[in-house]
């Protein structure tokens, strides 16, 4: 109780203070409020993760009824990871926003929105009252919209912001539908009512209820085909906001899905397969489009969709585990999924911060214009490289750990089950491997084109390394990435309480518990192997250094078949790096190309452009919109600009409104008269 009051008074004090102080202090106040609140919430979360459980009922308003606040281990896990990224985001943002200091009022709104986002995300994790939940959800959605719209004077940003606002309200529509359904039948807004209500439903109805919530949360999480706002919102927002958004805001959708799995009782096996299918499609589709992007931040945005897919595969697997009463599958699936939520929030925010550094140094996000940054910004390059390795799921970093858990789940699931489940698990293995391979292609392209080689573009100001203020939060994230990679069993241990929530749904046997302890052992082994890999690399590099120390070293230009002219322009570009892939993937995607061929005896300059577009967006949004526009266009004659006609509309309207009761009465009496005949 005291905690809640302290928490909210700090937020309120921060919000009230920010408009009245000098620009320089706004950021600092925001950061300190964010840190204090993160520590408060984090302290609670750690307590919960070590086995405690908090359960309060606040006496709410007559509208909302009692407000239940239950903090269980699942909330704890999400609070912890959300607040970590929000803290690094705030610290990074403090330096990032320095170049926008002139826009004082803009920064005020930005800071307030950031504080609101943090507190609302935390509330969403703990509150279990439908109305308050929706209120917090809406406030969160709007404050994130404010954060995205920071550079509102750019037309692209406005477009992205509006797109985001519309789609996040679609999300709220589905959530409200679900909550209204439950509340209208049970007369209670408490989440426990959902659980009780769903157990009274038929399996078909409870599945429909779940899917209603699932679609709502999937909009936020960015599952295909509900993802189309993501690739616009991420590049439009300032980099620390992109990092926070991709890192944690979309994860709140995952939290919602996990919470609903805990609450709603339904046919878990079928549900698991549905989630698995949507996730594989999201994962593969996300990375397939990511490879083709020319904008670094858009590329990263599509990777968020891919990673949501990987998380979803884990969740789907765990849900199948609940359905088939398989402890190992449940544990591995949910552990992999939830650990990947943390992992993705780390490496994706790091990637966005890295992209932010590059943007502020070069003022472009076009991959084709960058290059050779590694020599000018070594710290940023190393940080980006580590995050890129982690997102590809390569050992010894954290991405490997969670993907390994999901792989183990898939291979273990293969051993049991019937033909259909085996085939779908095999397809999942296939999907996960393809995702891994494509991610490798994508990030070698991104890292290679942006950081390596020679600069492809002449910048008036040569890029310089970012300030320590930006690099320190990034190194904090990198530290955690390495820590998870090297001692995964510790973090798996932290997950044991949240996992218990899911495994409690099973009826257990002693033999099953043994296989799960075995997983902890395997994790420890992987930690050792990862350490071993680093040590081995170190030893080999040391030997190489010792041996080559006395040898002669010459520095020459790169081999280019004897050509010694301007080789910077001859470099392989990012588009050509993925050209073979593009040719193969073209039938599945919609890519628009324009080109001017080189022709004639004296050729003039030729050029070609590729514009990757989202085929889902084309079919689900653009074409229906076009048809609605066409249909509504038929009524355009009504809007003819003649003031007389508009007056007429008004009169017709008034007559109709006033006349309807009479008309109704007349018809009613007519029918009665007819009945009497």
């Amino acid at each position: 109780m005291m905690m809640t009051i302290t928490y909210f008074s700090i937020v309120a004090a921060g919000i009230l203070l920010i408009p009245f102080i000098r620009v320089k202090w706004k950021g600092i106040i925001t950061v300190s409020v964010v840190i204090v609140n993160a520590v408060l919430a984090g302290w609670l979360a750690v307590k919960v993760l070590t086995g405690k459980q908090f359960d309060f009922i606040f006496y709410g308003t007559p509208v909302t009824g009692d407000i239940a606040v239950r903090i269980d281990a699942l909330s704890g896990w999400f609070i912890l990871l959300i607040n970590f990224t929000l803290v690094t985001g705030a610290l990074y943002g403090l330096q990032y926003m320095k170049s926008y200091r002139k826009q004082s009022s803009n920064i005020t709104i930005h800071c307030i929105a950031y504080l609101l986002t943090q507190s609302m995300l935390t509330i969403i994790c703990v509150v279990q009252n439908a109305l308050v939940f929706l209120f917090a959800w809406e406030t969160m959605a709007l404050s994130v919209a404010m954060l995205i719209l920071f550079e509102h004077y750019k037309p692209d940003t406005i477009k992205a912001g509006i797109n985001y606002i519309i789609q996040s309200h679609l999300c709220i529509v589905f959530l409200s539908l679900g909550f209204i359904w439950v509340a209208s039948r049970t007369n209670s807004y408490d989440f426990n009512a959902i659980s009780n209500f769903s157990s009274t439903l038929s399996s078909f109805a409870s599945m429909a209820l779940f899917l209603c919530f699932f679609i709502g949360f999937a909009f936020k999480a960015g599952f295909v085909p509900f993802h189309t706002w993501l690739p616009y919102a991420h590049p439009a927002a300032p980099s620390h906001i992109s990092g926070v958004m991709s890192g944690v805001v979309i994860k709140i959708g995952i939290y919602g899905i996990l919470r609903m799995i805990l609450l709603i009782k339904t046919d878990y096996t079928l549900l698991g397969f549905i989630i698995l299918f949507i996730s594989i499609v999201s994962g593969v589709y996300g990375v397939m489009l990511a490879i083709l992007q020319h904008n670094l931040k858009k590329l990263l945005a599509y990777h968020s969709i891919e990673n949501i897919g990987i998380i979803g595969i884990g969740i789907g697997l765990g849900t199948i585990g609940i359905g088939t009463n398989n402890l190992l599958l449940t544990t591995l699936g949910f552990a992999g999924g939830m650990l990947h939520v943390l992992n993705h929030s780390l490496f994706k925010s790091l990637l966005f911060y890295g992209a932010g550094n590059v943007y502020q140094a070069t003022h472009t996000m076009n991959i084709e214009h960058l290059g050779g940054i590694v020599k000018r910004m070594p710290h940023t390059s190393i940080l980006f490289l580590v995050a890129a390795l982690a997102i590809c799921g390569l050992p010894p970093l954290n991405g490997f750990v969670s993907e390994f858990l999901i792989y183990s789940g898939l291979f273990n699931g293969l051993k049991t089950g019937n033909m259909v489940s085996m085939l779908s698990l095999l397809i999942s293995v296939f999907g996960l491997v393809i995702i891994g391979g494509l991610a490798l292609l994508c990030f070698t392209k991104a890292f290679g084109a942006v950081f390596l080689g020679n600069s492809r573009h002449h910048f008036p100001h040569p890029p310089t390394e970012s300030s320590a203020g930006k690099l320190i939060p990034m190194y904090m994230v990198m530290g955690l990435i390495l820590a998870i990679g090297l001692c995964p069993n510790f973090f798996l241990g932290m997950l044991s309480e949240p996992l218990k929530l899911f495994t409690d749904k099973l009826s257990l046997s002693a033999e099953a518990a043994y296989t799960v302890t075995n997983t902890g052992y395997t994790m420890m082994y992987i930690g050792w192997c990862s350490t071993g890999l680093i040590v081995l690399t170190g030893i080999i590099f040391f030997i190489r250094k010792k041996i080559t120390a006395q040898k002669s070293v010459a520095i020459t230009p790169t081999w280019s078949c004897g050509y010694v002219g301007n080789t910077a322009k001859m470099q392989y570009s990012a588009s050509s790096f993925v050209r073979t892939y593009r040719k193969l993937a073209e039938p599945l995607l919609s890519i628009y190309k324009k080109k001017k061929e080189i022709k004639g005896i004296f050729p003039r300059d030729g050029w070609r452009e590729t514009h990757p577009y989202d085929i889902v967006e084309e079919w689900l949004i653009d074409i229906p919109l076009k048809q609605i526009k066409y249909f509504l266009g038929k009524f355009r004659f009504l809007q003819n600009g003649m003031i007389q006609m508009y007056t007429l509309y008004g009169i017709v309207f008034i007559i109709l409104v006033l006349g309807l009761p009479f008309l109704y009465g007349a018809i009613k009496s007519l029918i009665e008269f007819l009945n009497q005949l």
């Binding site: 393809i434 290679g448 080689g453 071993g532 890999l533 690399t537 080999i540 010459a554 790169t558």
Partner: protein, 301 residues
């Protein structure tokens, strides 16, 4: 431990045998079978030339590549004897550790800023991506067949009984052999002896490497050959005692090397733009293995 030592031993003569076979088939005398290793040792003694475009990535990448191959070899078992590293799901680690090496070799090629090396890197990234699913489906089928999820347990409990299992063995050998060719950029996919940069895949990626680094990269190729050879040998070792398995191991390595030599002598490289499709076909062969396993277990219902 035993597999690690034996693979290192096999790596010393493996490429030598390939080259020797090719020279005999084409009617030349050819170098001795230890020549490739002698070349590597000669490279290790040399100084280096670095491009002025390159950064620290280019310096560390060969070491990481070499370490990743060594790490992968440690995972490979020897029949019923565990590799140095063995845990449930270790083949995932195996594949991903190799991918780590590949990541670094690709970005080190991009680090030179050369158009040739970018081209090679692009091809290598795409081909290895397409080869990966075949390996995972193969291991998934074996996991299903044996009910185990680590290399050593799978190979130790893999035994051939029915006629289907022989077909599976042949198919698995084929898939592993083709993955070897893809991963090592050998004949049907890539021609290591071509002299035109535009038609190379792996060779063009290491154009700018020299001295100790080049030696490491070349030796890693030998190691990779022997490593995949060991995997194939593992298919046939079962739980025989050591005095049988060691000859089986070397026999299969030599046979495999000769087969690679013959293949390289009598086939031409595929058209570059059809390579990806060809490699993808390997996945469907693995899928056949999967269905074969289902058939053996009587799970078709």
């Amino acid at each position: 431990m035993i597999s690690f030592i034996l693979i290192i031993l096999a790596s010393i003569f493996f490429t030598g045998i390939i080259i020797r076979t090719k020279s005999i088939v084409t009617g030349r005398k050819g170098p001795g079978i230890f020549q490739p290793v002698k070349d590597v040792i000669r490279l290790w003694k040399k100084g280096a030339v670095y491009s002025k475009t390159t950064s620290f990535i280019f310096q560390i990448a060969p070491s990481i590549y070499f370490a990743s191959v060594l790490m992968a070899i440690m995972v490979v078992p020897f029949g019923q004897y565990k590799g140095i590293i063995s845990f449930e799901g270790d083949f995932v680690f195996f594949a991903y550790v190799l991918a780590l090496g590949k990541f670094f070799s690709i970005i080190s090629a991009l680090d030179t800023g050369s158009s040739f090396e970018g081209m090679g890197a692009s091809r290598e990234a795409l081909y290895s991506m397409f080869a990966e699913p075949a390996f995972f489906i193969l291991m998934g089928s074996f996991a299903l067949l044996t009910g185990k999820t680590s290399f050593q347990e799978i190979f130790a409990s893999l035994h051939f009984g029915s006629s289907i299992s022989y077909i599976l063995g042949v198919l698995a050998t084929f898939v592993l052999a083709m993955i070897t060719m893809v991963e090592n950029s050998r004949m049907p996919i890539d021609d290591p002896k071509t002299h035109l940069e535009l038609t190379m895949v792996h060779e063009v990626m290491i154009l700018d490497n020299s001295g100790f680094d080049l030696g490491m990269i070349l030796y890693a190729t030998n190691l990779k050959f022997a490593m995949y050879g060991a995997l194939i040998a593992n298919l046939f070792m079962g739980s025989f005692p050591l005095y049988l398995t060691i000859p089986i191991f070397f026999g299969i390595q030599i046979l495999f090397a000769i087969a690679v030599g013959l293949l390289e002598s009598f086939t031409a490289r595929f058209r570059m733009n059809h390579n990806a499709q060809y490699i993808f076909v390997l996945s469907s062969v693995s899928l056949l293995i999967f269905f074969g396993v289902l058939l053996m277990l009587g799970r078709f219902n």
